[in-house]
């Protein structure tokens, strides 16, 4: 497999988008519903034609190539398993459709079934199989025809919360086994963070940022990405940078003043991750605790100062003030991210 690239031009649901996905890469298209991620995926699959711009696989222009000829494996949200057929017939469907001989079909179906541990249930009807087996079957059914690229459309959104972690792990190990290019559409930042090599964050038909999970987490390009990535998302407080004798300081109104490394004077959005809050009785910032949420290993403090709100994620061992009490904390200056108050872009 060589490189594949795809470029889009403006589309009603999708503005100018340029994205190159490397061979064997697992890329997540992440965004809220209506952000254009499904449109993008449907264009890659050929279900929709781009209004302008091009999609290229291995350098070949795919515009006008019918979807059956693109060599795209598609895993649908509800898996779209042919429930009236046996597992074997599902796996063999693509090969038979493409006129592959019987002996060859049997051999390849056998191989893929072995790989996905579907061999014991090959002759069972696909109706009534459990959801993780359906997921394996859906992937196997596409993988057996050796597609150039795999597209997955929110395959975990119908799965029970408690079971999602298991499915995530399984999906990831499948991707490793196949070493195949995968494009994964999701609105769940946790799925994107845990599975993808790179994340493409989208909103309102625009590609906002592309990067590894940690790049996107650590250096969000704008406030949307900052809020969307992370659980909870990044805190953003309205502030004003002023130069002081000892260095730059962000004036955060009711919350206090916090030294920052960079930035020019003026209005900013002052961003910091809830996990990077350090309780410190002498810290420069102070907010009132509105709610204390204890979730096993972690405690989430909901904080307010004036009309600003923020959250802090602490270990459950850390002593925390009660509701209504002030909470004093410090931030590592390296952890602070500043955004332009107007454009909301990272400074």
């Amino acid at each position: 497999m060589q490189n594949l690239g795809k470029d889009f031009g403006a589309f009603t649901a999708l503005a100018e988008m340029d994205l190159t996905i490397g061979s064997g890469e697992f890329v997540a298209l992440l965004g809220p519903s209506g952000c254009g991620k499904s449109t993008t995926m449907n264009m890659i699959a050929g279900m929709l034609d781009p209004s302008h711009g091009e999609i290229r696989f291995d350098g070949r222009n795919m515009n006008g190539v019918p979807m059956a000829k693109r060599g795209v494996g598609f895993v649908f949200q509800n898996y779209a398993i042919f429930t009236h057929m046996t597992v074997r017939d599902n796996l063999a469907y693509g090969l038979k459709s493409q006129g592959v001989g019987r002996a060859e079909t049997n051999r390849r179906v056998g191989e893929i079934a072995e790989l996905l541990q579907l061999t014991p249930m090959l002759d069972r009807k696909a109706a009534g199989l459990s959801v993780n087996i359906l997921q394996r079957l859906a992937i196997g059914r596409s993988a057996v025809v050796e597609p150039a690229i795999f597209l997955l459309d929110e395959p975990l959104s119908n799965v029970d919360a408690a079971f999602r972690a298991v499915m995530r792990a399984e999906l990831k190990s499948l991707q490793r086994q196949f070493k195949q290019t995968m494009v994964y559409v999701t609105h769940d930042q946790l799925e994107a963070m845990t599975m993808a090599d790179r994340i493409a964050v989208m909103d309102h038909g625009k590609l906002l940022q592309v990067g590894t999970p940690l790049e996107v987490y650590n250096h969000p390009a704008d406030t949307f990405v900052a809020r969307f990535i992370g659980a909870p998302g990044m805190n953003l407080l309205k502030g004003r940078i002023t130069g002081a004798d000892t260095g730059l300081v962000a004036d955060l109104g009711a919350a206090g003043h916090c030294p920052v490394r960079t930035g020019q004077g003026g209005d900013v959005l002052f961003g910091f991750r809830p996990e990077q809050v350090h309780p410190d009785a002498n810290g420069p910032l102070q907010m009132i605790v509105t709610t204390v949420e204890r979730i096993g290993a972690r405690t989430i403090l909901h904080l307010a100062a004036g009309d600003m709100t923020a959250k802090a994620v602490l270990d459950s061992e850390t002593p925390v003030p009660d509701q209504g009490q002030p909470f004093r904390f410090a931030l590592d200056a390296d952890d602070v991210r500043l955004f332009d108050a107007e454009t909301e872009r990272a400074l």
Binding site: M67, G73, F82, S97, K125, V145
Partner: protein
Amino acid sequence: MTDMTTDTLPDDAGDETALHGGAEERKLGFWLTLPAQLLVLFIALFPILMQVYISLTDWSPLDGIPWYQAYELWIGLLNYVDLANDPRFWSAMWRTCIVMAICVPVQFFLGLGLAILFVDDFRGKRVLYSTILVPMMVVPAVAGYMFFMLFQSGGPVNDILSFFAGRPVTIAWLSDPDLALFATIVSDIWQWTPLMFLILLAGMVSVPQDQQMAAVLLGASWTRRFFTIVLPRMKTIIIIAIAIRVIENFKVFDNFYIMTGGGPGVATETISIYIYKVTQQELIWGYVAAIALAILITLSVVSALAIKKLRGAQQ
């Protein structure tokens, strides 16, 4: 009170039974509805039991004795013996089967073809759709009259044929025994293909779109998709559609009777027309009851087979 105005609780252990009450409640429900159930049973069974009773007698309304005293004319199974040896009954039965054997497949394939066309969008689809459904809504007697007019020897059918043949065509559609059956069959197909179309279209639309899309992405051609995904998923609805038409075909009467009156001779005499004639013209009701029961049994067997198939299709 609790907010149980519109919904039930979501699933948990034993919900099916839970929503319909425990064993005790079910018992109470049985006793409370018993009178109503008995009434329904009586209404359903009474005519059949009466038929069985009459069929074992030689009763006729002309005999001047009430039907419940028909035992005075008890003849045992003689009506059934007569029926077995009645060539007119067997030929009516045979004719009904021929009509069915032609009508049902033709209606099925026409309906399926139309459904395939209508499953995708095209210009003017809505207008055409309404037009196609019109025949179904025409009262069968009126349809019979329409076709009676169409197939007159000086009627529009012959006019059109004359136009194409370039010479006057005067086929006696309704007085030639073979052609009369053909003409009546055409009217039945005209009237009932829309129903078949409607049922099959509903079935076709309900085939999940993403499954068809998945098949396309796996490289399946249209025909392969149709035969491996669409048709198998329509199995249930196809069985229902065919069963409805098979059973209905035993009942064809109105348009046949109006077009040909069962004639010429007995050339278009289906089982319904035969029964009507025996009842109204010959008034041997004991015999009619025997015929009716014979048909009821036949239809029951057909329905039972269809239901069995249906269960198989749904597993």
